[in-house]
């Protein structure tokens, strides 16, 4: 035993020397915890590399600053598709060779296993399908329950505060749908001046009853403490509150706006190969199948084999027909000008 000890020590040192450290960032909360459990920890256990897992609040400002200054602190990032589009075409992300992704556990080649949207951008690999919907509490709304987006805008039928995230995205789409625009035509209408005016006018009908919040974490809290009777939320946050805290919340799937989160690699990182290795691992059938724990759908078909059947109906991927795909392209075009108009409208 005594003789073994130095050998063991030497082996550990060697192992440490060859192991590299990777920095990955994501959105934290229950989602980050699920990623830690199903993607980060298994990867570390299998390869011996270390991963520093940090939080950020989205957007591309920090990535831009890192790439432009050449001081790359992050290697792998979890990014919303709405930002991916922009970051990729501005040269802030590495191109990911999609043909090196491993096949699903059932043998389906990656190209067929992944949903089309998951591989539609050359800089990312889809990680989850998530959605923005609105939810209410059975404690505050009794009797007739709201079921459509129009109900969110109906303060006569459902008096009380509505909590919405303070930005034009989602809110303008919902306003148009509630005003009678068919889902398929929303972005077409929103491109025109009249369409934008129409959306703001619809929002204005409930402006006295809106509470604006900034961070997704505020949504379940506002619903819980009675600050609002209906809240806009990322579906996972409400699901988590129902599942782990037993809150009497209900989700309304009508006109939810779904989108993807993807893994991407920051341009110019020195650990590109390792980052790629991590992404290949993290988007495998098994790690992806852990995401439904927080009600975000996996992007691979083969992952569903591992998912608890009771959870599947609660995933956004089971409600795609009722929803609408958020348009990254539209918001790349109009995000800034509508952002300004939105701020102006708020000041009125």
């Amino acid at each position: 035993m005594k003789r073994l000890l130095p050998i063991v020590a030497l082996a550990t040192v060697c192992n440490l020397a060859s192991a590299e450290q990777l920095t990955a960032v994501s959105f934290g909360g229950a989602y980050g915890a699920a990623q830690q459990k199903h993607m980060i920890d298994p990867f570390v256990a299998e390869t011996g590399h270390k991963i520093l897992f940090e939080n950020y609040s989205g957007g591309i400002a920090e990535i831009k600053a890192q790439v432009e200054s050449g001081n790359i602190l992050w290697d792998v990032i979890d990014i919303e598709v709405i930002d991916l589009e922009r970051a990729c075409s501005e040269g802030l992300l590495e191109v990911i060779p999609h043909d090196t992704l491993p096949p699903g556990d059932d043998g389906t080649p990656a190209a067929e296993d992944f949903s089309e949207a998951a591989l539609s951008n050359e800089c990312g690999v889809g990680n989850i399908v998530w959605t923005v919907l609105y939810a209410f509490s059975n404690d505050t709304i009794k009797g007739g329950q709201p079921s459509t987006i129009a109900d969110l805008f109906d303060t006569k039928k459902y008096p009380g505060k509505r909590a919405l995230r303070k930005r034009p995205q989602v809110n303008l789409e919902w306003a148009l749908i509630a005003d009678g625009v068919p889902k398929e035509q929303v972005y077409e209408v929103l491109e025109t001046e009249e369409g934008q005016a129409r959306a703001f006018a619809k929002l204005a009908t409930i402006s006295d009853d809106i509470i604006w919040f900034d961070s997704w974490s505020q949504a379940p809290q506002l619903l819980n403490d009675g600050g609002a009777v209906m809240v806009q939320s990322a579906n996972g946050r409400i699901f988590d509150a129902i599942q782990s805290e037993g809150k009497p919340f209900e989700m309304v799937w009508d006109a939810h706006l779904y989108d993807l989160d993807v893994w991407a690699i920051v341009k110019g990182t020195k650990k590109k190969e390792l980052a790629m290795e991590f992404i290949r691992f993290a988007t495998g059938s098994k790690p992806l199948s852990g995401m439904p724990e927080v009600a975000y759908g996996p992007t691979r078909n083969s992952s569903y084999a591992y998912v608890d059947k009771a959870v599947i109906p609660k995933l956004p991927s089971s409600h795609l027909d009722e929803g609408l795909k958020a348009s990254g392209e539209f918001w790349a075009d109009y995000g800034e000008s509508l952002g300004e108009k939105f701020n102006e409208w708020l000041l009125k």
């Binding site: 400002a61 501005e90 040269g91 930005r167 509470i211 009675g226 539209f330 952002g339 102006e344």
Partner: protein
């Protein structure tokens, strides 16, 4: 001279040398600070000022198209000629290969919303074309790929974005814009002037409120027996030493609809309906007044502490009534403290960011929140720089006015 009678010339010279050496030594000691201030304060501000007017991105991305576009008169209603279009298609193609088309798209999109996806999708199509072919028919390819390329406004935007030095960000901060004929006119969205005005108003109200609250308290602290004064001072300083974030978030607990304040008022039967305080301008003002109060109390206290109480007593014993005596004798002596506190509170509050972001909702936002928006969300760092520069200019102008009418020499911190 009197000194020359007792000191020789050499002695004077040597003493001057010693003095000089001492001064140099002192300068040496302050050099690290000067370098620090330069690197962390002056240089970033200079870069920010420069960034707000100098913006070479587009002129670096498509230099050839822009130089050919010089001959095109954008006030006429004709598109640039085929040569320009062919050159542009070639440059856009090479940008697409280097994955820089998105950068160009974002810049043009800022002047003509809606063109970002057009440029990006055209760039993707161009990548599949051969350069030799584009040299001949690039213009036709461009015009055929999307009808928006025939929009003359788009080309005007490209030409305008190509100027490396621009005043357009400053025009935007003043809610102005340049139309296609080059004249300055009002923008469709009117937002920034309103916000500057609002920030100014909020900062003034906060300064006034802190002065009203701090003055009697500081007076009491300065005149009370030191045992009581010291204990009360701890009450002033304790919140001051607490994290800003903690103090701000505790205001959420107090102000929210079913928070401490509303539920106590309801329990006492004073109100039936809860007040809406959180996420309003009032919330910003209340929370910031509380947070900035020590900045007013401390200078006031230190000035009042040094005022001899016998002045006021003398005035009273000479027959002055208490109130006129206060205004004529005591108040003028505390002006250095009031002005120091007011200047501190005003300048800190006009650029305040965290508290309005947390408790202000949409009503209580200040200009700094919009600057942060452009830094973090819209990535329009040039506009953020212009907004910041204007805020800096505003503060300097107010400081100048203040110096003229009150006098900076009047400030006393202790």
């Amino acid at each position: 001279m009197e000194t020359s009678s007792s000191l020789s010339v050499e002695e004077i010279l040597s003493s001057k040398r010693v003095l000089k050496r001492k001064k140099r030594l002192l300068l040496l000691f302050t050099t690290p600070l000067l370098i620090f201030v330069f690197i962390t304060f002056i240089a970033p501000i200079a870069t920010m000022l420069y960034r707000s007017v100098y913006h070479p991105t587009v002129s670096q991305l498509i230099p050839l198209s822009l130089s050919q576009m010089k001959n095109w008169d954008e006030t006429q209603s004709a598109l640039p000629d085929g040569m320009v279009l062919r050159e542009f298609s070639l440059e856009l193609r090479s940008l697409a290969e280097q994955r820089l088309s998105g950068k160009l798209a974002e810049e043009i999109n800022r002047l003509k919303p809606g063109s970002s996806s057009l440029i990006k999708s055209t760039a993707r199509k161009l990548r599949k074309q051969k350069p030799e072919q584009l040299q001949l028919t690039g213009d036709q390819f461009l015009l055929a790929s999307h009808k928006k390329w025939q929009d003359i406004e788009l080309w005007r935007a490209i030409k305008r974005a190509g100027q490396p030095f621009t005043d357009s960000y400053y025009l935007t901060t003043l809610d102005l814009t340049r139309n296609s004929a080059g004249e300055i006119e009002q923008r469709d969205t009117q937002i920034y002037l309103k916000l500057y005005w609002k920030s100014l108003k909020i900062a003034l109200i906060i300064t006034l409120l802190t002065a009203i609250f701090a003055y009697p308290l500081a007076y009491y602290l300065a005149t009370a027996p030191s045992k009581i004064a010291n204990r009360l001072m701890v009450l002033v300083l304790l919140p001051f030493w607490t994290s800003l974030l903690v103090r701000t978030t505790s205001w959420i607990a107090i102000l929210q609809t079913n928070g401490v304040l509303n539920s106590s008022l309801q329990a006492l039967g004073i109100i039936d309906q809860p007040f809406e305080l959180l996420y309003t301008e009032y919330a910003t003002i209340i929370a910031m007044t509380h947070i900035l109060l020590p900045f007013m109390i401390l200078p006031l206290y230190s000035v009042m502490k040094n005022i001899d109480p016998s002045y006021l007593r003398a005035a009273l014993s000479l027959g002055a009534r208490p109130i006129p005596a206060f205004f004529k004798i005591y108040l003028p002596m505390t002006v250095p403290g009031v002005s120091a506190g007011a200047l501190l509170v005003f300048i800190i509050s006009i650029g305040y960011y965290i508290t309005p972001a947390i408790v202000g909702g949409t009503e209580g936002q200040m200009i700094s929140n919009i600057i942060a928006f452009h830094m973090q969300s819209s990535n329009n760092w040039e506009l953020a720089a212009a907004l910041g520069s204007l805020l800096l200019a505003l503060i300097l102008a107010l400081y100048w006015v203040y110096d003229r009418y009150v006098g900076v020499n009047n400030i006393k911190l202790g």
